[in-house]
Every structure is written in C-alpha cells, then in structure tokens.
Amino acid sequence: MLGTLAVGAFGGWTAYWLHVPAGPLVGSLLAVSVLRLAGGPVATVPTPARRVVQMVLGMMLGLSVSLSSVLTGRLLLPAVVLTITIVVLSMGVAYVIMRATGWNWPTALLCAAPAGITEISLLADDMGYDATLVAAFHLVRVVTIVTLAPWLVIWLR
C-alpha cells in the first residue's frame, strides 16, 4: 500500500513539475496504472481507504463551495437536458456495442451506462451479469476522461 502511494507520489510530483494540467492527479493515476498493468508490485487501495479519501475530498471541497450556489435553480434545466441527452447517447452506444460484439442487451447497456463505477458494477453483480467486465469498461471511461479533460480545458480555454 505504501509502495503504491510512493509510485503515485513519484508520478504525481513529476507531472506537477512538468506543468501537466491537474498533474498530481493525472501523473499519479498513470504511474500506478502502468506499473500495475506491467505486473509490478501495486496493491489495490482497499475500499475503506477509498472511502476515507472521498471523505477528505468532500471536506476540502466543502470549505470552498457554497450550498446556495450549488443548489441554484438555474442549473436544474440544463442538467436535466444534459442527463437525458447522455442517457439516450449511451443507449445508442450500447446498441452499437451489442450489434458489433453479439453481447446481450443488458450487458451492453450496463457497459455503456454513464453513471458511477461503484453503482453500476454493484447493479451488474446484483442482476447476475459480469460485474468485472462492466467495472473494467467504466474504469477505462473514467481514466480516459480524467487524463484527457485537463488537456481539453487548457487547449480550449
């Protein structure tokens, strides 16, 4: 576990010094993923530890966010339109995946569903589908986005 954090720290600080956008997050993510996929000695961060990290993140954000600006009504309509658009798009992607791979519709839908990794993987497990495959798909989605989004923001800003 300490070794994993050391690798993350190395990748994170290197990316930070190289001025990579959101470097600590992206560098740490890439360093640990690459070492883990190469068969290196990387331990999975256990679920309770991840929960503690999420709590600390919530505390940090809570000190810089105000409730009234988060729950303002002006966000509601665009967010609803966005959600419906993304859900319809993901159903289209699921259909194409089903046609291209021959997988059944529920598996394709769970793989393409744009919601949290934990929630969708648990749902797949609960319904008796391949939760590992579904989790792997969602991990690729999040890793792709977390790696690309900072560059997109810097490039288009």
């Binding site: 961060v45 966010v65 993304i86 059944n104 569903a113 890793v143 986005i145 923001v153």
Partner: protein, 172 residues
C-alpha cells in the same frame, strides 16, 4: 489553538456526514455527505481555515493512486478481447463530452473549462477535483454533476431492471 479546534470540527463533521452519505447510498456518498456536512458547518462558522495547497496536491496524488490501483491485467485482457466494444465506448464517451459541453455552454454560458467538466460523464468526484485543481468554478461543476449522476441513477437503474426482466422473459 483556534486552527486545531477548527480542524477537529471539520474532521468530525466530515466523517459524520460522509458516513451518513455512504450509509444512505447517496451517489459518491462518502464524498457528498462529507461535503454537505462541511458546507453546513462553514455556513455557521465562515472563518474556518482553508486547506493549504500542498495538502491539495497530496490529495490528488492519493485519488490518482486509488483509481490507478483498480486497473488490473485481467481487466486489460478482457478489454483486449472486447477491443471493438472498448473502442466504441471510448468514441461514445468523447461524443458525450462534446455534446455535454455544447449543452452546458449553450444554456449557462459558463467558462469553457467549467462547461467541459460539467458536461463530461467522467465521475463526479474526479470532475470536481479537476475543476478545483485547474482553478475553475467548482460550484457549477459540482451542481451539474450532482444532478446528472443522481438523475442518471434514477433513470438507468429502473431501465436496466426492465431490460433484464424482458431479456429473462425472452430466454428459452
């Protein structure tokens, strides 16, 4: 001494809120519960100290390591077997980013960075953390992501159950 008591207050309220959020299965409940608890505390005690930049960097490193440690060779093998599906999913996600950014920037006209991170289906904690790390308006990103993830679960869970029930009925 004042800072020490503030730290204890923040930690206690965060852990309490995070535990409740997790227990009541809010989306990203541990983060959201802690965030709401600290926001409420901050409303009553506006002079709470903020977290210093090195701590923010370390937090990003830990989040990155936690995400990276979930990748495993077995997942990679399975994704390689399903390469066309993986490619389609990544293509669909990037199309989702483009459409989401367009929807948010047309409706709200925030900065480009806020529009991208608000409209991107890439995980609520990660997008809010990125907004914070890039010096963007985390309020807007959090608000939209919160509504998106909650609504998605409300739509997708019954939809998936309906699809599975139909598939089971159609099975021989």
């Amino acid at each position: 001494m004042h800072d020490f008591f503030s730290f204890v207050l923040i930690a206690v309220s965060g852990v309490l809120g995070g535990s409740l959020g997790f227990r009541y299965r809010l989306p990203a409940g541990a983060m959201l519960g802690a965030l709401l608890a600290v926001v409420i505390l901050h409303t009553f005690l506006p002079n709470l100290p903020s977290i210093n930049p090195p701590a923010r960097i370390w937090l990003q490193i830990v989040v990155g390591a936690a995400l990276g440690s979930r990748a495993n060779p077995e997942s990679l093998r399975r994704l390689r077997q399903a390469l066309p599906a993986t490619g389609l999913m990544i293509g669909g996600t990037l199309l989702g980013v483009a459409i989401g950014t367009f929807v948010i920037s047309s409706a709200l006209r925030p900065g480009t960075g806020e529009a991208i991170l608000s409209g991107t289906p890439g995980g609520m904690p990660e997008m809010v953390l990125l907004a914070s790390a890039l010096g963007l308006d985390a309020n807007t990103v959090l608000g939209i992501q919160l509504i998106r993830v909650t609504l998605s679960l409300f739509i997708l869970v019954p939809l998936a159950r309906l699809v599975v029930a139909r598939a089971d009925r159609g099975a021989p």
